[in-house]
Amino acid sequence: MTTKSISVAGNSVWVEELGDGPPVLYLHGILDLHGIEAEPMAFHRHLAESCRVIAPAHPGCAETGEDETITTIDDVVFHYLRVMDALDLDTCVLAGSNIGGWIAAEIAVRHPERIEKLALIGPTGLFVSGHPIADIFWYAQPDDGVRYDGLRNLLFAGPRTEIGLSMIPDAKDEIDREMLKYKAFRFASLIGFRPPYLYNPKLHIRLDRYTGPAAILWGEHDSLVPRAHADTYSDRFPNSRLEVLPNCGNSLIVESPERTAELISSFIAN
């Protein structure tokens, strides 16, 4: 396991690397490495048993510097093309969870030639009429200053699951974790607070541009991104398959880390 800071267009980007094998560029979500945890979590370690996981922190997240020129999802795509160049990733497997899945999809439809396989885990990113992505920013503001049932309900299979309460307790967390979370929300706010909310209205009509293999992983009880989005992703990617995991919400990587990692590993291997 190594961590390093690389320079991309004059800004520092914090990158965590673990495991050996085919390179997988992993783009994190909010409840994730760099989003709330400083160290790789069970999911990342399982995935690293069969591949080389390369996990950069988004602009402004963890130790990656804030970049004032990044204000839209397009800017983020250009940022990651530069990150791939800096990491000598001519082509790679691209995976992402939550907002990281959205970014991964945006990269894939623009540069399908650089993506060997695409794995999206509970990604935001799409507009599906009548099925809006829920307002994660509203529920990031706790009830009575301290209760996060609303936020947990969006990120987990319910408001008070065991794993949910341990990841987002009804209390002030350790300051370093609170800071990671704040920075992750700040990045998400930059690209997803104003309409369109955590989506790109054009993305769904561009999905056919990526014709490589795509795995779409979804939680059975996802209250953040409705199931209709899973169907849209899997219907419009010409070469995709959808896996729905039971007893999970949006945070598959913490709610079912082994199974999620296994599904991605076997998707990469086969």
Partner: protein, 414 residues
């Protein structure tokens, strides 16, 4: 030496909420259903509030203060400029302080430059132009991503002041508001432009930006302990970096006051309005119960460094002004000062002396307070508190700011 300036601030809250509002609704902001607006009862409400501000002018206040809020019961002025326009025609002497227009909510800052210039001309040069960046509720109201808001804010201010001071037409390059033709008519009556006030919550960034441009700073806090003095000192130090010398008139604070004949009488008369204000109007803003939208990861406008500083001192779930349980606790917060003329005078003088501020922006109307009570408090304040405050504050300033005596006396006589 000029005495302390006393302004009357009206928030124009919605006074007709049902009794069970606190039980049933998580917030008085953003999602508070507008089906609660009672068309019949609300007839004449704006008239009543405007009349109170006109009364303040008649009583000799230095000015009237308005501000902007949206989709809430705390302040019914989505456009304070409309009230300012009304005041320009009905008041004669006092400054009209709009504190302020929330710039990131504007499609085009040119509109603010134009409307403020109109108000300045319509009022005979009485506008004080406030600019606000907006807080958490405003981010949700108008879908403004918090990290961008500050950048838009300072570009918009610079553009507005440029339209007032530089001959047009000129082109503004942006990046937030690129405009081909900037050539605002009318121009403001005051030269070079109306005084600019910028509210801030102690962030270093806002102080720097205000100080280096020569603007005044208004501390947007409702409680005044040691932090208020520290904020004034921090702004003074920031001004010094830019070769400006702090005077008490470069700094303003918000206080709330109710005056009656005796301390006891003041409590009896004000309690309904004050507790309505604390429980309902502050719910969603400065009250921990319910859902506070003012700051947090959902509205991450503060830089990560500022947020770390906040985290280090804040206990989640800690009681805020709106959670105040009783009069004793309210008294300790030095936010809402209730009492006889003597009590109020002494407490305000202590604040002036401690905070070294020359601008007291005072809220007299609370929540659902009856018109006659708000007027009575304003009248007693003007007749029995203001004269002593003015006399004694002038002495305090002469003692604490001897070097300022000459410059401050050069201000136009009121």
């Amino acid at each position: 030496m000029h005495p302390v300036k006393l302004f009357c601030w009206h928030f124009m809250s919605y006074p007709y909420l049902p009794e069970d509002f606190d039980e049933k609704y998580e917030s008085g902001w953003v999602t508070v259903p507008n089906s609660l607006w009672d068309r019949e009862q609300a007839k004449g409400l704006y008239q009543e509030y405007i009349d109170q501000l006109v009364y303040a002018d008649e009583l000799g206040f230095d000015g009237m203060v308005l501000n902007e809020h949206h989709q809430n019961i705390y302040g019914l002025m989505p456009s304070p400029n409309m009230i300012a326009a009304a005041l320009s025609q009905r008041t004669k002497n006092g400054k009209i302080v709009v504190l302020g227009n929330i710039l990131p909510l504007q499609m085009n800052p040119l509109r603010v430059a134009e409307e403020y210039a109109m108000i300045d001309c319509m009022s005979g040069g009485r506008l004080i132009a406030g600019f606000a960046v907006g807080g958490g509720p405003e981010a949700f109201n108008y879908d403004v991503p918090s990290p961008q808001a500050r950048r838009q804010f300072w570009e918009a201010i610079d553009l507005i002041v440029r339209t007032w001071t530089e001959d047009g037409p000129f082109e503004h390059e942006g990046p937030e508001y690129p405009l081909r033709y900037v050539n605002a008519w009318p121009r403001p009556e005051q030269t070079p432009h109306p005084p600019v006030w910028v509210p801030g919550a102690r962030s270093r960034e806002t102080m720097e930006n205000a100080a280096k441009r020569g603007y005044s700073y208004f501390l947007s806090s409702r409680s005044h302990g040691d932090q208020t003095r520290k904020a004034a000192q921090a702004f003074a130090a920031t001004m010094a970096k830019y070769d400006r010398t702090y005077s008490p008139f470069d700094f303003g604070i918000l206080l709330s006051v109710y005056v009656s004949e005796t301390d006891e009488q003041a409590k009896i008369e004000s309690q309904e309005g004050i507790w309505y204000f604390l429980r309902n109007c502050l719910k969603g803003h400065l009250r921990t119960k319910g859902r506070t939208l003012t700051y947090g990861p959902g509205v991450p406008s503060a830089s990560p460094d500022s947020w770390r500083g906040f985290l280090e001192q804040w206990q989640f779930g800690a009681s805020q002004l709106g959670d105040t349980q009783d009069w004793e606790e309210l008294d300790q917060r030095a936010s809402i000062i209730v009492g006889s003329p003597e009590t109020v005078r002494d407490k305000l003088l202590a604040v002036v002396e401690r905070a070294q501020t020359g601008n007291l922006l005072i809220q007299f109307h609370f929540g659902n307070m009856k018109d006659e009570l708000a007027r009575k408090s304003m009248r007693l304040f003007a007749e029995q508190v203001a004269p002593a405050l003015r006399a004694e504050s002038a002495d305090i300033f002469a003692r604490d700011f001897p070097a300022m005596a000459d410059t401050i006396e050069m201000e136009p006589a009121k």
